[in-house]
Symmetry: C2
Subunit: 317 residues, 2 copies
């Protein structure tokens, strides 16, 4: 089968079809999404080697457990050990021994087939098209914010960054009823944000120290300092950017203003799939390009081009 | 009257007795405590000029409002404007126009008398001696942690730093029923901590990524990195050190592990005074030296000597 491999360089290679381990199920990939994390990995993040990709929708292989065989599915990306204290506490996404599809010690989904823990599968309702279902993982990550931080509906929230993640976060917060100000530089992305009811102010127009809630989704190490300028005393900054290396942080400001910083990563799939199924969030407006699997190298170059939003890989027969 | 002034250098000077502004009351100082913030100010922090000091117990001047005249009191240190949105929201300690006794735009308490907002006064119960009441402000700051962060009684907590603040925090958490591990370098301070039931492990004996709760009270810019090594995924680091300048922060670790950082500064006086009055916390074990007001320069040198805990100034007639 075809797979998009990374071994220090990206190649589209012909490889053996993966064999499920105990507890795993093989899924025939239909569509996959390129995430900024994939691009970071191709720049050395997480020292990953293997098949790239973690956002996908597929169809369970016909030789799988009959309960699943042939069903259209998405799958959570963390493969936890299931035996440690964190797993026992329901924190499998933080299992120290976890493998992560396409990110840590486990081949990913930019391929014709991927194996995933059967426990991670979620059936996709029939009326949800592949182009929508493929957003389940990043949408779950955006919804995670509301699972961690009790932002009241109606509250103003500043979202820093108008990339894929920032826009998804803004969509989620709009759906929640928040008054969202999305800060970004690209007129096209601002137009998308305005389309779902977000404000798109210039950052200079925002009052310093006035924001009760700030979500940092710039993907830049400079984003934190900007967030701390905007946040109000006793306010909260949600950190969504997995930026490499170190940022500088003026601790005394955080202490004196009693600011809270909350790191936020992956989320539960069920509420994301429900939001897609009921149509209350439609991220398809973020799709800029769709390429076939054998065009994956071009797709990754497109995805890395400044200003590009979502690039999908189509692996359907 | 005598006052300990800072104008780039510390001096004990004879100055005019301060005149209360509208809404203020003059308090004759009985005892005052030297805080690390005072030492930081003498090194340039906050660009403060004037009479130093913010921790004190005193007696309201006889010519004050009869409701207060002659009463022994402590006083909260933030003088809020009372008119802005934050004051209206009960966040006077974060009022942008606030003055702070001995820290920002308002003379402090290392003097024979200090003026404070009348609204900030708290009467000290008769059976609470001056040496105990003078700890109300730092104890309130330690108790603020539990007002901000819902640490369950019985939970293990790591406190980094065995200085005055770290020990007070450890006392507060022990009183709350936590299993406290205080990390510090000084055998004498460890003995104090052991005296009130805290563990005092070597930092090397603590498992990385295992602490649900960490309080950073080292007063050092290196403390944050240490706290982030110890904290567990989904854990919380409370930041108590008002350290100058910038620390470096590896954001991706905070995001991937979904760690929460909470800045924590001042607290309400009422619960602190109540804890002192009921005898459930007795910080007098932290007192290393007591000096008279005219010996304040020596007292500040003592307070700045590594290993020293609390130094008090006695201004009683």
């Amino acid at each position: 089968m075809l797979a998009v491999r990374f071994d220090g360089a990206v190649s589209v290679a012909s490889v053996d079809v993966p064999v499920p381990e105990v507890g795993e199920t093989r899924v025939l990939v239909r569509m996959a999404g390129i995430c900024s994390t994939d691009l970071e990995i191709t720049r050395g993040y997480a020292a990953f080697r293997g098949t790239l990709g973690h956002e996908f929708v597929g169809e369970v292989a016909p030789d799988a457990d009959p309960a699943w065989a042939g069903r259209r599915v998405v799958a959570e990306i963390n493969a936890a050990c299931g035996a440690c204290d964190r797993c026992a506490a329901g924190l499998g996404r933080h299992c120290a021994a976890r493998r992560v599809i396409g990110i840590r010690d486990h081949d990913g989904c930019f391929a014709e087939a991927v194996c995933v823990p059967t426990a991670n599968l979620h059936a996709v309702p029939e009326h949800v098209p592949d182009e929508l279902a493929v957003f389940t993982e990043p949408l779950a990550a955006a919804l995670e914010i509301l699972a961690q931080v009790p932002i009241p509906p109606g509250d103003p929230v500043v979202v820093l960054g108008d990339g894929k993640l920032g826009l998804l976060v803004a969509m989620v917060l709009r759906r929640h009823g928040c008054d969202v100000s999305l800060v970004g530089r690209h007129p096209r992305k601002r137009a998308i944000a305005a389309g779902f009811g977000a404000r798109t102010p210039e950052i200079a127009a925002l009052r310093r120290g006035d924001a009760r809630w700030v979500v940092e989704a710039t993907g830049s190490s400079a984003g934190l300092a900007c967030a701390l300028e905007l946040v109000a005393p006793r306010g909260t900054v949600v950190l969504k950017s997995t930026v490499h290396g170190a940022s500088t942080l003026a601790i005394s400001g955080v202490v004196v203003d009693e600011v809270t910083l909350v790191g936020s990563r992956c989320g539960d799939f069920a509420p994301a799939l429900a939001a897609l199924a009921e149509g209350s969030i439609d991220p398809r407006v973020l799709i800029d390009h769709v390429r076939r699997l054998h065009e994956a190298r071009e797709a990754l170059v497109l995805a890395a081009t400044p200003g590009t939003l979502k690039v999908l890989l189509d692996a359907r027969r």
